[in-house]
């Protein structure tokens, strides 16, 4: 590089910049390889964009789109939407509360930092396996998507918000338990260790050592998860777990675009509001 620049200078004239991309051949080859690799994906997903534009499909979707305007705004309907929107928030809040009931004890049991036997070298075998078992339980809880939990619970308890609350409780319980554990173990263990060594109980060590140190981070993560839970509780409605999602699903099946548009708008506003509230709270926590 430097040598050729010198050469160009000693020749007394600057070389003109190449008029086209010097690496075009390589780029083209990689593009071709990528397209070949994409082919099986397109086959597997039945990727046929032109299907969107054939006469029948175009007719159906244009009719549906045309029914979007005007958005439904009858007072009865708006009242119903407001009611269901509140239920969506309530499902998320109740689910998260139950998730906390699950996650907090699980965290207390599974945190390494609260192990007494680990103070002197290796953790004893019993507590070690107990901690591992709780961790695996949490992993299973959160690996099953909440929608699948909701499908299962709708079968057991019937349509309605109970299934949604339980689904959020289990999935988010697993998530919170795991992340709480990680937060508690990422901090400086010194204070907690000192408390434990001097004979305080594990709960005391938690309340006076671990918790004050990590309270802001724990709260901030919980608020963030509440925001996520609102989003999921809309989705859960699609399998019959109550709230805005269930209403939206019904309107879509009836092809009443005006109602769909109103509900989508309410949902976008709801998410934006939750985003604002949770952002503000997290900022004030620092």
């Amino acid at each position: 590089m430097a040598a050729s620049a010198d050469l160009a200078l000693t020749n007394g004239r600057a070389r003109p910049a190449p008029s086209r991309d010097p690496a075009w051949l390589g780029r083209l080859a990689w593009l071709a390889v990528a397209l070949v690799l994409l082919w099986p994906l397109a086959v597997a997903t039945e990727f046929r964009p032109w299907a969107l534009f054939d006469a029948r499909s175009l007719h159906v979707s244009s009719q549906f789109l045309r029914s979007f305007w005007p958005p439904a705004h009858g007072p009865d309907f708006l009242l119903l939407v407001a009611h269901e929107a509140w239920r969506t928030v309530a499902i998320a809040t109740a689910g998260l509360t139950l998730a906390l009931l699950l996650a907090v004890p699980a965290t207390l049991v599974s945190t390494h930092a609260l192990s007494v036997s680990a103070l002197s070298g290796r953790m004893a075998r019993g507590p070690f396996w107990l901690r591992q078992a709780v961790r695996w339980g949490l992993i299973v809880l959160r690996s099953v998507p909440e929608l699948v939990w909701a499908l299962v619970f709708v079968r057991v308890v019937g349509l309605g918000p109970t299934a949604g609350v339980l689904a959020i409780a289990l999935t988010y319980g697993g998530m919170l338990g795991k992340v709480y554990g990680e937060i508690l173990e990422s901090g400086d263990p010194h204070a907690t260790e000192t408390l434990l060594r001097n004979g305080s109980s594990r709960l005391q060590a938690f309340f006076f050592g671990l918790l004050p140190q990590n309270a802001a981070e724990l709260t901030s993560y919980t608020v963030y998860r509440w925001e996520c839970a609102i989003r999921s509780s809309v989705v859960l409605g699609f399998v019959g777990a109550g709230g805005l999602g269930q209403l939206l699903d019904g309107s879509m099946k009836m092809f009443s675009g005006g109602e769909v548009l109103t509900m989508l708008a309410v949902f976008v506003l709801l998410v934006a509001l939750a985003d604002r509230v949770s952002g503000g709270l997290r900022e004030s926590l620092g």
Partner: protein, 258 residues
Amino acid sequence: MKQSISSRGFAVALLVLVVASFWTLDLQWAQFLSLDALRSMGRFAGEFFPPDSSPAFLARVALGTWETLAMSTLGTLLAAAAGMLLALPASRMFEGDAARLRLPTRWLLNVLRSVPELVWAALLIIAAGLGPFAGTLALAVHTAGVLGRLFAEAIENAPPGPGAALRAQGVGKTRVFLYATLPQVLPQLLSYTLYRWENNIRAAAVLGVVGAGGLGQLLAFHMGLFHMGKTASILGAMLLLVGAVDALSYGARRMLTR
């Protein structure tokens, strides 16, 4: 101002929210915790065993898994392309760039982003019909909103030096972007895209519940017909897929940060 939110007021508001939530939801705990319900739940769980492991059915599950992976991959790629196209008008390229389209484009990205994949899928099924194509499009639309915003932030935060140098030489907008801005932000864009791909595999697994293809569609179908053995195998495949993705991303992240 934010600091003035007193912690007592916060606690009271929180308590009111929680109590009101439980109060208004008419949850059927009695029905859920009664002996009868527990027995029916036990029966329900028992029906999962044994999972259907006939080779013919396992082949269908494998096909569903492949379809899920393909949906998430193609959806993410389409989203990266669309996100890139939308990120360009959504970012202020240099100091004093008028960027008139910046706000409207960001609004559009926000709307794409705040409607979940599943809702997009339910909407798109009307135009694209049942099947994985609708799911792929739904993933692409939602992820385009997410990636477009992340890409725009990355582009705006890129060090302005190289771009300014080229611009001072009279190089056009396109080439400034291609040869100064893009090379600087490309690693970040790639890592965002990979992260969303990971998310989308998980999302694609359940998208089919509304009829948009993949493992979810199999699951909803067999659960609807009370084929509990088959449902159990599909659930197992889902857990394996999600677990494998989690393990891979955890491993990759550890390798990269070491």
